[in-house]
């Protein structure tokens, strides 16, 4: 099976399903995950954030290779997952009820 992420990040391949191209998709996945799943993803990806920074800093948005894009999206997923793990202790924002704040415009990558 072809790797989806850059080779240096092969350890994160089990979490490649977080490499979703839009904030809305990443947020939907967060709502669809248990705290255990969010914690497991956070525990695997957070320690790799510094390495990801070094990797991502070398590319402009116009020359980011496809596996680099997926890495960017996966860490976008970490950003989204960080709120339940670091703050809320639940997937939804507390007291947010049925409210929805939805992205209608975002950059292409």
């Amino acid at each position: 099976m072809t790797a989806l992420l850059p080779p240096d990040f092969a350890d994160l391949e089990p979490y490649a399903d977080w490499a979703l191209p839009t904030e809305g998709a990443r947020y939907a996945k967060r709502l669809d995950s248990t705290m255990d799943e969010l914690q497991a993803f956070y525990d695997a990806a957070f320690p790799r954030l510094e390495a990801a920074t070094t990797y991502l800093e070398q590319f402009g948005m116009d020359n980011l290779p496809d596996d680099g894009k997926r890495l960017l999206w996966l860490f976008g997923g970490l950003v989204t997952a960080s709120f339940p793990v670091e703050v809320w202790r639940q997937p939804r924002v507390p007291d947010s009820g049925a409210s929805a704040v939805e992205a209608v415009v975002e950059p292409a990558v």
Partner: protein, 429 residues
């Protein structure tokens, strides 16, 4: 004892000559009052509908649903490059001219002309009626009499505004007043990296603006978003603005915040520490040169953000790390509205900066989710009228100003049109 200097009168509220007594929110729970606001406010003021970057070439257009004003407008850059606006209605039998699939949804694109889907009438981008199907079947039809109905349209600092009041002659620049003038020259046009969010809020439009026009709530409602020790410290200190300003119908609040980098790295969450970003934006913003004089009016070294409320429903927030947001509140009824939060950054220099911006964007959204539901809760209980008077503190001065301005517009409109069914609003101040 206030931490930051208050005006000589002892409070911002008294400085601006605003009564300090409890306020009424009758203007936010009344269907009749909202009907008056639709004409008195939304058909009589400059409304921001977009930015020029949304019209990158001749023929670019977008539509805006202005439910509160009972219309939809087309905004287009015509073939000579001029930005124009029209009511989105065909002159034949009143069909909506520009829409796709769902008539109530906004659309955008590029076109050489507007063609009505119903009977094929065609209009140029300058509004002229160019083609009528089976023109000979009509009786003395002069196409020159049936062009699109224009809407006043002007641009301020790249922001496109429309005004539905054909009798009024106030230019946009004049309407934006001193607070607008103080922002002239800010490089809004450089911040082309856009993220836009939309929410349906179960509250009167003014009550949601209230939530953004004061930060008194921030250490409490948003307490959990900070690391515990930092959160407790913030609650102990509370919130005070560096400054407030009011000019005509508009107002602003200037606040400290978001020292980047923070003095103590342990006071921010792990993700913020590692990505060097957060609610206040990426810690290292682009260099944009000198700021216009309207920003950081107190000239305070701890300055972090200025929030401008441009009446009726357009907020502009400028953050110290050189990015900005806009908020729009589009009423759909007396107790519902559509909230739009749009974030504007300079294009990321590399893919890591894109991730830093993502954290700022997602953080904004988390905060907005907390605010959104709170306001629905507030609206339901205000409508009970179990309580009808509400004390506001000095940090809530802009709320007094917004509601009294909205009531003033309605009052002036009622006087002018001598409404036979006056709506009695028990107004304090």
């Amino acid at each position: 004892m206030a931490h930051f200097t208050k005006p000589a009168e002892g409070s911002w509220t008294e400085h601006y000559g605003i009564d300090t007594g409890p306020v009424s929110y009758a203007d936010s729970i009344s269907p009749d009052h909202y009907e008056l606001e639709r004409d008195a406010i939304f058909r009589r003021t400059w409304l921001n509908v977009g930015r020029v970057e949304q019209l990158p070439r001749n023929g670019s257009f977008f539509t805006r649903e202005l439910d509160a004003a009972r219309t939809s407008v087309i905004v287009v850059r015509d073939m000579s490059g001029e930005v124009r606006a029209f009511h989105n209605i065909c002159r034949h039998r009143g069909n909506k001219l520009v829409w796709n699939d769902y008539p109530r949804e906004e659309v955008s694109g590029t076109t050489r002309q507007f063609t009505c889907k119903y009977h094929g009438w065609r209009y140029g981008l300058d509004g002229d009626l160019n083609f009528v199907q089976q023109e000979g079947e009509f009786f003395d039809l002069d196409r020159a009499d049936f062009g699109l109905v224009p809407v006043r349209c002007e641009i301020w600092e790249g922001f496109v505004f429309v005004n539905l009041d054909d009798e009024d002659r106030t230019p946009l620049g004049e309407y934006m007043g001193e607070l607008g003038a103080g922002l002239a020259g800010y490089p809004f046009h450089r911040m082309t990296q856009v993220h836009k969010y939309r929410a349906e809020i179960g509250a009167n439009w003014k009550l949601f603006i209230d939530a953004f026009a004061e930060f008194y709530h921030a250490p409490i409602l948003h307490a959990k978003q900070a690391v515990s020790d930092e959160s407790r410290k913030l609650q102990g200190v509370g919130f005070e603005a560096l400054a407030y300003d009011i000019d005509g119908p508009h107002s602003m609040v200037s606040s400290w915040g978001g020292m980047s980098p923070p003095k103590d790295l342990n006071m921010v969450k792990p993700i913020e520490r590692t990505l060097r970003s957060g609610l206040f934006g990426p810690w290292d913003g682009p260099d944009i040169g000198e700021l216009p004089p309207g920003l950081n009016p107190a000239r305070h070294p701890a300055w972090g953000i200025d929030s401008f409320v441009f009446f009726p429903n357009f907020m502009l927030l400028v953050w110290k790390p050189n990015w900005y947001l806009t908020y729009h509140y589009w009423p759909t009824s007396y107790n519902t509205h559509i909230f739009e939060g749009t974030l504007y950054f300079a294009p990321p220099a590399n893919a890591f900066e894109r991730l830093q911006q993502e954290l700022a964007v997602v953080t904004f959204k988390e905060y907005a989710l907390q605010d959104a539901n709170t306001l629905e809760a507030t609206q339901t209980m205000l409508e009970s009228q179990a309580v009808t008077e509400f004390p506001l503190n000095d940090q809530e001065v802009l709320l007094r100003h917004l509601h009294r301005t909205a009531r003033r517009y309605v009052g002036e409109y009622q006087e002018k049109h001598q409404s036979t069914t006056p709506v009695r609003i028990s107004a304090a101040s």
